[in-house]
Symmetry: C2
Subunit: 210 residues, 2 copies
DNA sequence: GCTTTGCTGTAACGCTGTTCTATAACAGTA
DNA sequence: TACTGTTATAGAACAGCGTTACAGCAAAGC
């Protein structure tokens, strides 16, 4: 994160900063593993500290409190989502957009605990900061980029790409969210997801309803 | 709830049962008010007991534990949603369906704390029981009924009403969920909601994509 | 040598859900 | 009236939580 030494810092300072950064990433790795293997309920300060091999005081000096750890996990979750969405490289704009939708669902399903932290307030006291929230919008912008290309290619009717992206995200989120909570059974969840994505996309097509 | 006296019970038993039922509803009223006025975080056993004017032991004898109270609140939330959705009486099937969608959103926005309990796991240890889950599907069936009428009227193409209802619910839930969490700003939330609902509905129209 | 600074472990505080224990209230009975 | 058995309650206690105050330890500066 902030591994660059500040101007005017001594070599000792940088070494210490490196140590700090190492401790920080180690702590986050531990917290992440705990989150994924045992769920958000297992994310307690004492347990993280025990697993990490130190006292809870260390976690407080590094992250300030549990909210600090929660925010890092929140950001990590959105970063994974962003990487998943941006890893779709279909040449056709519409194929890329639908691929992004499938990537969204696949990422959510294989990172359920993270998804719970991101969208279900699974860590009781935590509320993301303004800048963390801003960072979490990156996947949405990726989606908007693909939408813009669809408009440019004449597949979608001209409109505000961000508006369309937000609507598509809402649809995607709704289906995935209900699926993850276990609502209405997971039997035809994939089919429902595909159906809703097609329905939403069709609405914005050129020559459609708009 | 179970206010009918069991066969062979004495008048004293029924009186006592009445007292139990009264205590039960009083406790739920207190919990509900606490939930709505101060959020899910204020729902602690001690606070409910204090507000109610008794010891926590009473709550444990009535509800078994906090999960018992949570489940009742969960059911109450879905009951409110069900009543809101079924209170739409438009004669035209499609108008009734869109009215139900608007009722869904309006109910969620005016019962945010309940919505958090229902869909965001706002009460940490709580998982709804199988029968509570079954009861929560009533609004979905109401939606499916309206869908069925749309199909009968030739507005929608023939298909499984439950499938369509589930897809519509997912779309609705996604938009409302993001709006309630405060995601992507609440500025154009209503417009996005309407847009997504129209998009999803259009997909199932007769002569459309299907 | 000593002091000062940064960091850490321990123990504690106030809170949570839950359970244990002692006590009070009441119907039935001699 | 006095006793018994059931039921229900209040209060204290327990384990766990996030957090913080305090004491101690290592290394840098003089």
């Amino acid at each position: 994160m902030d591994s660059e030494p500040a101007p005017g810092s001594t070599p000792y300072d940088t070494a210490r900063a490196h140590g700090r950064a190492a401790r920080r990433t180690a702590a986050l790795d531990t917290a992440s593993e705990l989150l994924e293997r045992h769920g958000p309920g297992a994310l307690t300060m004492r347990r993280i500290a025990t697993e990490l091999g130190c006292s809870t005081t260390v976690l407080y000096t590094i992250f300030g409190g549990k909210s600090g750890i929660a925010e890092q996990l929140w950001l990590e979750g959105f970063d994974r989502l962003d990487r998943a969405v941006r890893s779709v490289h279909e040449p056709d704009p519409l194929a890329r957009l639908t691929g992004m939708g499938q990537a969204y669902r696949a990422n959510a399903l294989s990172n359920r605990a993270y998804y719970a932290v991101m969208f279900q307030r699974a860590i009781p006291g935590f509320e993301p900061s303004a800048q963390a929230y801003a960072a979490s919008l990156r996947p949405l912008h990726a989606l908007a980029g693909a939408v813009e290309e669809c408009i440019g290619a004449g597949v979608f009717a001209p409109a505000d790409p961000m508006h369309i992206a937000r609507v598509l995200w809402a649809a995607s989120h709704g289906a995935v969210s209900l699926e993850i909570v276990g609502y209405e059974g997971a039997i035809d969840a994939e089919e429902r997801y595909e159906c809703l994505m097609r329905a939403a996309a069709a609405w914005f097509m050129a020559g459609g309803g708009g």
